[in-house]
C-alpha cells in the first residue's frame, strides 16, 4: 500500500549511492568551506603586526564614535499634487492583459504608489478564469529591466547611435517611400487595433506583406484543421467535459495553446471529494517526461518517429480508417477501448506540429465524437497563428522583391530553423527595422531599433478567441523614451493619433455588440475596469476581483461618435494561412515514411522559460524545472540505459546499474548533439521516463543581447528544428547524433537532491487509486498511531507540549495533491510577493536557493513490499534494494509543494537561542528577522527543511549584480514594500504571507465583521491555476479549509513526528486500473 511504497528523489537517491547517504547523514546538505579558509596561506601569513592591529582597533573605535555622532535625518517628500486615487500605503489594482505572442492572460496589476509590483489573474475572464502561470507572474519584472533600450537607435557603421523619434521617423519615412517591397514579420497578433494600424500602414505603402511567424509554431494544427474543416483555425478545448483524455506528446498543462485554462479545466475533472467521486482518466504518449506526462494516470514513452503510428493505431482502434501500430499495440488497444467507451466525453490532443499527425488526430476526435462536446470549433483560439509556409516563402523573397523588413515582437534570427537560412537572407535586405526592447539576435542585424513600450506601460486590446476581448491598460508611465509600435506604424502612415485614442476608436465599433451601455464612455470605462469584454454586456459585478479596480479618466473629445471604426480582427479576416491542405492518404504515407535514427531528438519548451521571450528574467531562470528540478540551464535528457550504452556514467555497481550516480550533479558528462546540421554542446541529464533511443533539449536558452550573465545560459536548439514533409516546422529531429566530449564535465545547478526528507519517505506523500477511494474514503491514508504504555494511541494524543490557545483564528492551509500539477506558478508568485532573493546558478549549485516554497517531485518505484514478500523470491536486502529500484522506463511521478508547515509544536521554536522564531496565537510560526543572529539551529531542527539562510547580502553584494533584480535602482522598484528585505546572516522562511493576513484582518476589523472565508489569499493560493492550495481559518466552521480538515483524504507530512503542522495535504488519488498502479 501507499505507505509501503518507496519514493526516490532522483537517480542518485534511488541508487542509494554514497553521496546521497552522506548528504542524508550530514547536518548541512551544503559544504561549508571552513577548512579552505583556515588553510588559506594568505590568511595565515597576514603581515599585520600587533601594533598595526592596535592602530586599526583605535581607528575603528574613533571612526565608530564619530559616525555615531550624527543621527540620520529622514526626509519625507509628499506629492505636490496627490493624484486622487493614490493613497500612500494603499495598493491600487488595474485590470490589464499579458500577451507576448506565446502566453495570454487576463490579469490585474497591483500597484503601490504608482509602480506595478505584482500580477494576479483576472477572475472575470472566461478564458484564463483568474489563473496565471509562472511566466505571467514573472513578467512584472520586465518593466523594470534596466538593460532595456532607452530610446530609438540607428546603426552607424558597427555601432549604435541614439536618435530622436522625429529623426528616425523622417529617415525611415524616406526609406519606406522608396521601398520595393515591405514585409512585416511579427509573432501572432491578436489585437484588433494593431491590425487596423498595420492595415493603415499597408494601405499607405505599396507591396506590404505581413508574415505571422511564431517561434513555437502551431502551423501543423492550422493546416490539419484547414484540411478537415476548410478553415485554418485552432479550436478551443474543454478538458473539463472529458472523461478520457489522451495526449500525444502534448504538454497541455505547461505549454500548449492555453495552458492556464487547460490546467484549470483539467483540475476540475481531477478533484475528488465527498460530493464528487468521479475523475477523468488521462493517458499520455510522449517522448520526454513532461509536466503533463507526470500527471497522467497512464504514460507510455514513444519515440517522436513513432507518434504518427500511435495516432494511426488509435484511429484504427476507435473504428476509423487507421492502421494497426507496430509499437505499443496492446496499450493502444486499451486506450482506444477507453476512448470508445467514453464517446462524446473523450478528447485526444496532440502537441506535434506535423500536419500529418494532427490530421489523424482530427480523425480520431471525429470518430469519438469530441467535436461539439470536448472540442469547440465555433469558438476559435487566435493566440497562435504562425504560418510556417509564409515564413518560408518570405525567406525566398528577402533581398529580391522585399527590401525592407520590420520585426515586431519577433526574433527569427534566434528562433528560425537553420534549414530556413534566415540570417543569410536577412543580410541581403537593405532596410531592417526592429521594435525590440533589447539589441536581441535579430535587432543586432537591423538598421533601426525603435523600442516598443513594455506591456505594463502600454495601451492595447486583444482578442484571444471568438467573442472574447480584453483590454490592456498601462500601470505605469513609460520609464524610458519608448513608443507604442502601433504608433510607429501610424506615424509612418501619416496618422498623428495617439494609440489610446486609436484603441478607443476600435472599441467604438464594438459598442454595438452589447446593449447595456448606450454611452460609449460608460461602455469604455467599464471595459477598462473589468479588463475584458466578452461579447455581451461587460460583466457587472459588485465584487470586482479586488477591492479597488480603478479606471483612468477618459477625455470626451478623443472619441468621435459619428465615425465608428471598422473592427478588423482575426475573426473578421480569418487567420491568414498559406500552408495548403493535406489529405488523409498523404498523411498516412508521410507517417509511414517517418523513420528514426539511433537517437531521436525531441525539442520541447520548458514550463519556466517557454519560448525564451523572458530568458533574461531571473525569477524564471531560478525556478526549478518541474521535472528535472534544474535551474539556470538547458541540458540533454537521456534514458539511463542509453547513457550507460554511451559510457557516460559507466561504472558498474553492485545492483547492476551502470550509472555513476555519485558524480551525477557535480560532474555531468558533456555531449555534442548534432541534428539538422546544428550542433550544440550540452551536459547530459539522465532522465527516467525518457523514451529509449531519444534525447530531449529545451528551447528558449542561449539568448544573446541582455547582459553578461544572461548571455551565457544554455544553448539555442531552435536551429535544429526540422522542416517536415508536410511543410511545417517539426519540433522533433528523427536523426540526431550524440558524441561524448571527452574530458569535459559540467556542474549543473539542481535543487533536486538537496533538502532530502531524511529517507523517511513513507510518511511524506500518500496516494491511492480511485477504485480504492470509492470503497473507503481513507484509502491509502491510514491513521497514524504510536505505541505507548497505554497501547496504540493517535499521534496527536501523545503530546509533550501544552497546546496553544487560539482565541480568534487558526490559519490552516490545505494542499490538494490531486489538483496540484507541479507547474511552479506558486513558486514564482511567492518569490515576487515576499521579496525572496535571486541567488544565481553558483549559489544553487551549493544548495543555497532561497525559495520559501519548493515543489518536491518524487519518482516512485514499482516493487511493492507486500507483493514481493508474498512471492518470497527476494531476500530482505534484495527486497529493499529493489524497492528503491524503479523501472527506469516509466516511473510514476508525484508532486508535493512544501513550504513552512507552521507546526503547532514546532522544532525550530524550541531551539532558537534568541527567541527569533515564535508561535502566534493564530497558529503561525513567526520569524523575526531583527532578532535572528543566524545560529541556524532552527534549520537543523526543522523536520521539513524549509528554512533558508541568507548567506550574503544579495541586494548589495557585487557578486549578484546582473542577476538579482534588487541590485539596481530600477529593478528594486519591484520589491514589495510590505515585506522586509532580509539582511545577511538571518534565517527566513514562509510567513504564510503574514502581510496579507494582517491586511485582511484589518479590513474585517474596520468593517466590524468576521473575516470572510476566501478573503485572505496567500500569494501561492492566488496564483495556483488549479486551486490546489486553500488557505483559511479552521475556527470558522463554514470555511473551505475547515471542511477539508474533516475529509478522509487529509494527512500531515511526517505526522508521526508529532509536529502537528497547520499545513496539511489531501491524499493523491490516481485513476488507474491496477490496484498497485499508484506506486
Amino acid at each position: 500500500m501507499a505507505n509501503e511504497t518507496k519514493y526516490w528523489k532522483g537517480l542518485a537517491h534511488l541508487n542509494n549511492d554514497s553521496s546521497v547517504v552522506e548528504k542524508n547523514q550530514n547536518e548541512f546538505a551544503e559544504y561549508i568551506p571552513v577548512e579552505e579558509f583556515v588553510t588559506d596561506k594568505g590568511t595565515l601569513e597576514a603581515n599585520t603586526s600587533r601594533r598595526d592591529f592596535l592602530k586599526f582597533l583605535g581607528f575603528s573605535t574613533v571612526a565608530a564614535t564619530l559616525a555615531a555622532c550624527e543621527a540620520p535625518v529622514i526626509k519625507s517628500v509628499p506629492y505636490v499634487n496627490r493624484p486622487d486615487e493614490i493613497i500612500p500605503g494603499v495598493a491600487n489594482w488595474y485590470a490589464s492583459t499579458f500577451f507576448d505572442g506565446h502566453d495570454y492572460s487576463s490579469i490585474v496589476v497591483k500597484t503601490r504608489e504608482g509602480r506595478p509590483i505584482k500580477i494576479e489573474g483576472n477572475t472575470l475572464s472566461k478564458v484564463t478564469m483568474g489563473g496565471t502561470n509562472s511566466r505571467t507572474q514573472a513578467s512584472v519584472l520586465s518593466v523594470y529591466d534596466s538593460t532595456r533600450l532607452r530610446g530609438p537607435k540607428a546603426k552607424s557603421g558597427a555601432a549604435w547611435a541614439d536618435k530622436s523619434w522625429e529623426d528616425v521617423d523622417k529617415e525611415i519615412g524616406g526609406k519606406l517611400a522608396s521601398a520595393k517591397g515591405i514585409a512585416i514579420v511579427s509573432s501572432t497578433i491578436i489585437s484588433p487595433s494593431t491590425y487596423r494600424a498595420i492595415g493603415e500602414f499597408s494601405a499607405k505603402y505599396k507591396n506590404v506583406s505581413h508574415v505571422t511567424y511564431d517561434a513555437v509554431s502551431y502551423s501543423g494544427m492550422l493546416k490539419a484543421n484547414l484540411s478537415s474543416f476548410g478553415k485554418a483555425m485552432i479550436p478551443t478545448y474543454n478538458f473539463d467535459k472529458a472523461d478520457v483524455i489522451v495526449s500525444l506528446s502534448c504538454d497541455f498543462l505547461g505549454n500548449w495553446i492555453s495552458p492556464v485554462e487547460h490546467a484549470k479545466q483539467y483540475s476540475m475533472t481531477r478533484k475528488v471529494s465527498a460530493d464528487k467521486k468521479t475523475m477523468s482518466r488521462h493517458y499520455q504518449f510522449e517522448t520526454m517526461l513532461s509536466l503533463t506526462g507526470a500527471n497522467a494516470d497512464e504514460r507510455f514513452p514513444v519515440k517522436p518517429s513513432q507518434l504518427g503510428q500511435v495516432a494511426l493505431g488509435l484511429l484504427n482502434g476507435v473504428g476509423g480508417a487507421g492502421s494497426a501500430s507496430s509499437v505499443l499495440s496492446k496499450e493502444i488497444q486499451t486506450v482506444a477501448e477507453a476512448l470508445k467507451a467514453a464517446k462524446g466525453k473523450a478528447l485526444v490532443v496532440c502537441g506535434s506540429n506535423d500536419a500529418a499527425i494532427q490530421l489523424v488526430v482530427n480523425e480520431i476526435n471525429k470518430a469519438i465524437g469530441a467535436y461539439g462536446t470536448t472540442i469547440n470549433t465555433s469558438v476559435e483560439d487566435f493566440t497562435h497563428q504562425g504560418d510556417d509556409a509564409a515564413m518560408k516563402s518570405l525567406v525566398e523573397k528577402l533581398g529580391s522583391s522585399v527590401d525592407t523588413v520590420i520585426f515586431y515582437n519577433s526574433n527569427p534570427v534566434y528562433s528560425a530553423p537553420k534549414a530556413l537560412a534566415f540570417e543569410a537572407a536577412l543580410k541581403k535586405v537593405s532596410t531592417k527595422i526592429s521594435f525590440a526592447s533589447h539589441v536581441d539576435e535579430t535587432a543586432a542585424l537591423c538598421d533601426y531599433i525603435l523600442p516598443d513600450h513594455n506591456y505594463l506601460e502600454a495601451w492595447g486590446d486583444h482578442m484571444p478567441r471568438t467573442g472574447h476581448y480584453s483590454l490592456q491598460q498601462p500601470a505605469i508611465r513609460p520609464l524610458f523614451s519608448t513608443r507604442h509600435a502601433q504608433e510607429s506604424f501610424l506615424r509612418w502612415a501619416d496618422n498623428k493619433k495617439d494609440y489610446l485614442s486609436y484603441v478607443k476608436e476600435t472599441w467604438q465599433g464594438m459598442q454595438g455588440m452589447q446593449n447595456v451601455y448606450g454611452d460609449f464612455n460608460a461602455f469604455w470605462i467599464n471595459c477598462v475596469r473589468d479588463g475584458i469584454f466578452e461579447g455581451t454586456a461587460p460583466v457587472k459585478t459588485e465584487e470586482a476581483p479586488v477591492a479597488a479596480i480603478k479606471t483612468v479618466t477618459v477625455e470626451n473629445d478623443s472619441v468621435k461618435a459619428d465615425q465608428p471604426a471598422v473592427v478588423t480582427t482575426a475573426a473578421g479576416r480569418g487567420i491568414s494561412f498559406t500552408g495548403g491542405t493535406i489529405s488523409l492518404d498523404d498523411a498516412k504515407s508521410q507517417i509511414a515514411a517517418m523513420k528514426g535514427g539511433k537517437f531521436e531528438l525531441a525539442i520541447y519548451s520548458k514550463t519556466s522559460i517557454g519560448s525564451g521571450n523572458q530568458a533574461n528574467n531571473p525569477w524564471l531562470q531560478e525556478m526549478p524545472d518541474p521535472i528535472s528540478k534544474i535551474t539556470w540551464d538547458n541540458y540533454v535528457t537521456m534514458h539511463p540505459a542509453d547513457a550507460q550504452a554511451m559510457n557516460l556514467f559507466g561504472v558498474e555497481t553492485e545492483s547492476g546499474m551502470m550509472v555513476r550516480f555519485d558524480q551525477m550533479e557535480d560532474n555531468l558528462d558533456v555531449v555534442n548533439v548534432t541534428a539538422n546540421g546544428h550542433t550544440v554542446k550540452l551536459p547530459v541529464w539522465v532522465q527516467p521516463g525518457q523514451a529509449k533511443g531519444t534525447i530531449g533539449i529545451a528551447v528558449g536558452y542561449g539568448r544573446k543581447g541582455f547582459n553578461e550573465y544572461v548571455d551565457n545560459i544554455g544553448q539555442n536548439i531552435f536551429p535544429a528544428v526540422a522542416i517536415t514533409a508536410s511543410g511545417t516546422m517539426g519540433f522533433d529531429a528523427y536523426e540526431a547524433s550524440v558524441a561524448k566530449v571527452d574530458g569535459e564535465t559540467y556542474r549543473i545547478a539542481a535543487t533536486q537532491t538537496h533538502h532530502t526528507m531524511m529517507g523517511r519517505n513513507t510518511d511524506i506523500l500518500r496516494e491511492t487509486t480511485l477504485a480504492e477511494y470509492l470503497k473507503d474514503e481513507r484509502a491509502g491514508n491510514p491513521a497514524v498511531t504510536m505505541h505507548t504504555y497505554k497501547g496504540e494511541q493517535a499521534v496527536e494524543d501523545v503530546n509533550l507540549w501544552n497546546d496553544f490557545e487560539r482565541p480568534v483564528h487558526k490559519w490552516n492551509m490545505a494542499i490538494d495533491l490531486n489538483s496540484c500539477i507541479g507547474c511552479g506558478a506558486c513558486v514564482v508568485a511567492c518569490t515576487i510577493e515576499n521579496n525572496v532573493p535571486v541567488v544565481g546558478r553558483d549559489e544553487v549549485r551549493k544548495s543555497r536557493e532561497m525559495h520559501w516554497l519548493r515543489i518536491d517531485r518524487y519518482y516512485s518505484s514499482s516493487t511493492v513490499k507486500a507483493e514481493a514478500e508474498e512471492k518470497g523470491e527476494m531476500g530482505t536486502m534484495e527486497l529493499y534494494r529493489n524497492m528503491e529500484n524503479p523501472t527506469f522506463d516509466n516511473p510514476k511521478v508525484a508532486f508535493q509543494p512544501v513550504m513552512c508547515q507552521h507546526c503547532n509544536h514546532a522544532g525550530c521554536e524550541t531551539v532558537c537561542p534568541v527567541i527569533a522564531t515564535t508561535h502566534s496565537n493564530e497558529g503561525l510560526n513567526q520569524m523575526t528577522y531583527n532578532r535572528c543572529v543566524g545560529t541556524r539551529y532552527c534549520a537543523n531542527n526543522c523536520a521539513y527543511k524549509v528554512r533558508r539562510f541568507n548567506w550574503f547580502n544579495y541586494v548589495e553584494y557585487h557578486r549578484f549584480k546582473g542577476l538579482n533584480p534588487a541590485q539596481d535602482d530600477i529593478g528594486r522598484m519591484v520589491l514589495n514594500p510590505d515585506v522586509t528585505v532580509r539582511a545577511r546572516g538571518v534565517m527566513e522562511k514562509c510567513s504564510m504571507c503574514a502581510q496579507r493576513i494582517q491586511a485582511g484582518k484589518l479590513e474585517a476589523k474596520k468593517a466590524g465583521r468576521k473575516v470572510i472565508d476566501g478573503e485572505i489569499k496567500t500569494a501561492c493560493m492566488q496564483s495556483c491555476p488549479t486551486d490546489a492550495i486553500i488557505f483559511g481559518d479552521v475556527l470558522d466552521p463554514e470555511s473551505k479549509v475547515a471542511k477539508m480538515v474533516k475529509d478522509g483524504r487529509k494527512f500531515e507530512v511526517l505526522e508521526v513526528v508529532g509536529t502537528q503542522p497547520n499545513v496539511f495535504y489531501m491524499t493523491k488519488v490516481w485513476n488507474r486500473e491496477d490496484k498497485n498502479a499508484h506506486i
Partner: protein, 424 residues
C-alpha cells in the same frame, strides 16, 4: 589668600545681584503688560494702529483723556458711555459697534502696564520665537555662567603668580647684591621649569593627577554627550526631537488656534498605514485665499507653499515649476516595523495625542513619546482592547470574558505582543 578669595566671592555676589536686579527691574511691568494684553485684550485689539473689533492701541496713552479715565473705562465701559463722556461719544457707536467688555478685576497698576505695552506699539524684537529661518535648539544665554567668573579668577591668579615671582626674583637679587653673592645666572625658561618640576615633584604629581582625572571625566561627558554611552537605554532619547523644517509650519496655529482636524491634512490616517504628510495641494486649499496672517513672517512662509506648488500668486495660476517640499520626518520607526495608523485610529480608537503628544500646542512639531518597542508594548499591555460593537471581536470577547473574569482585557491578551504582528 583667604582674603583674596573672600574678595572674589563678594565681588561675584555683587555682580550677580546687580545683574539680576537690572534684568528683573527692566522687564517686570512690560512683561506683565504683554501677558495681560495677550490674555485679556488681544482678541479685540491690536498693538498697531490698525482697528480690529476695537481700535488699535498704538499711542493710546497720548490720545485718551488723562487722569483716572482709563481705569474707569477699562473697569466699566458701559458706565462711562452712560455718563455721556465726550471722548467716547466720538468713537461709539460711530466707529465701533460693540461695547467693550469690562474688566473690573484689573488693578490700576495692571491697567497701566497693559496700556504702556500697547501704547508703545510693536517692538522690533521678534515676539514669536523663530518667526523666520529654521528653528534650531535655542541657545540658552546664562548670565550666571560660572566659567566667566572662573576665567577671571584664573587671570587674577596668573597675574598674582607672575607678580609674586618677579617680586621674589627681585628680592633675591637684592639680597644677593646685599650679601655680595654673585648674581645667579639667568636660566633658560625650560631648564628653570624642569628644575622647578624636579624640586616640586609632589606638587606636580598632585596637579598632574588632578589634571588627568579632570580630562578623563570631561572626556567621559563629551563622549556621553554624543551618545556613545547612555547610562541606561534611555527610552526617551528621541523625545524632544524637533528638527527645523523647510517651512516654519506651526501645528499650534493650525490645529490649536484654528482648530483644524488632524485628519483634514493627514488624510491617510483612516485609510492607510501611513497618516501621510499632506501634499502641497492640501495646503493650497486654504492658502490660496490666505496669503498672509497677523503672525509675523507668515507671508514669507506661505510664499514657500506657493513656490512648492508652482503657484503664481500674482495671477492666481499654477504656472511655475513645482518644487516638492522635503520635510524632515520627526516620528520615525525602523524599517522593519509595520505600524498601521488605520489599525490604531479606526479600529483601536486611539487618539492622535496618545502617540504624538499635544500637537495643538507645538509651534515646531516635536517628538514627545519615545516610540520605542518597549513603549509600544507597555501600551499594548495596559490598553483595554476595544471590542464592543465590533463584529470581528464578538467571539473573542465572549471567550475572554469567561477566561479573565472581571479583569480588563488588554491588547496583549489577544496577542498584541506577538512579534509577527508588527515584524514581517
Amino acid at each position: 589668600m583667604n582674603s583674596l578669595w573672600q574678595n572674589v566671592r563678594s565681588t561675584r555676589l555683587v555682580v550677580l545681584f546687580s545683574l539680576a536686579f537690572f534684568v528683573l527691574a527692566s522687564n517686570a511691568f512690560a512683561q506683565d503688560g504683554k501677558a495681560l494684553f495677550k490674555s485679556k485684550c488681544s482678541s479685540c485689539h491690536t498693538i498697531t494702529d490698525k482697528a480690529s473689533t476695537g481700535p488699535g492701541l498704538k499711542d493710546v496713552l497720548n490720545r485718551i483723556p488723562a487722569g483716572d479715565w482709563k481705569y474707569n473705562w477699562v473697569k466699566n465701559p458701559a458706565a462711562v458711555i452712560k455718563s455721556g463722556d465726550s471722548y467716547i461719544a466720538g468713537l461709539y457707536p460711530a466707529k465701533f459697534k460693540t461695547i467693550m467688555t469690562g474688566f473690573p478685576d484689573l488693578k490700576n497698576e495692571e491697567i497701566d502696564a497693559i496700556l504702556a505695552y500697547a501704547s508703545a506699539g510693536p517692538q522690533d524684537v521678534a515676539t514669536t520665537p523663530g518667526a523666520t529661518g529654521p528653528v534650531g535648539p535655542e541657545v540658552v544665554q546664562d548670565e550666571n555662567n560660572p566659567w566667566f567668573i572662573i576665567a577671571i579668577i584664573i587671570a587674577l591668579l596668573i597675574v598674582l603668580i607672575t607678580t609674586l615671582r618677579f617680586t621674589k626674583i627681585h628680592l633675591r637679587n637684592a639680597l644677593n647684591e646685599k650679601e655680595g653673592r654673585p648674581e645667579e645666572p639667568a636660566q633658560p625658561f625650560l631648564t628653570a621649569s624642569r628644575s622647578w618640576v624636579n624640586n616640586n615633584k609632589k606638587l606636580v604629581g598632585f596637579l598632574g593627577f588632578f589634571l588627568f582625572c579632570y580630562l578623563v571625566v570631561q572626556g567621559w561627558y563629551v563622549l556621553k554627550g554624543v551618545g556613545v554611552y547612555a547610562e541606561e537605554v534611555k527610552p526617551d532619547q528621541w523625545v524632544g526631537y524637533h528638527p527645523s523644517q523647510p517651512i516654519n509650519f506651526s501645528h499650534k496655529i493650525h490645529a490649536g488656534d484654528n482648530g483644524i482636524q488632524c485628519q483634514y491634512c493627514h488624510s491617510g490616517v483612516e485609510k492607510s498605514k501611513h497618516a501621510s504628510i499632506p501634499s502641497v495641494n492640501v495646503c493650497m486649499n486654504c492658502h490660496k485665499a490666505i496669503s498672509q496672517t497677523k503672525n509675523e513672517g507668515s507671508a514669507e512662509e506661505i510664499q514657500k507653499i506657493y513656490t512648492a506648488a508652482g503657484y503664481d500668486p500674482a495671477n492666481g495660476t499654477y504656472t511655475l515649476v513645482p518644487q516638492p517640499l522635503r520635510w524632515n520626518k520627526v516620528h520615525n520607526l525602523p524599517d522593519h516595523v509595520y505600524f498601521s495608523h488605520q489599525q490604531h485610529v479606526v479600529v483601536g480608537g486611539v487618539a492622535c495625542e496618545t502617540c504624538h503628544g499635544d500637537v495643538k500646542k507645538m509651534g515646531t512639531i516635536e517628538q514627545q513619546r519615545p516610540l520605542t518597542m518597549g513603549w509600544c508594548i507597555d501600551c499594548h499591555r495596559n490598553t483595554p482592547l476595544k471590542m464592543e460593537g465590533n463584529g470581528y471581536y464578538t467571539e473573542l470577547h465572549e471567550k475572554m470574558k469567561e477566561k479573565y473574569k472581571g479583569q480588563p482585557i488588554t491588547v496583549a491578551m489577544a496577542g498584541g505582543l506577538e512579534c509577527g504582528r508588527c515584524h514581517y
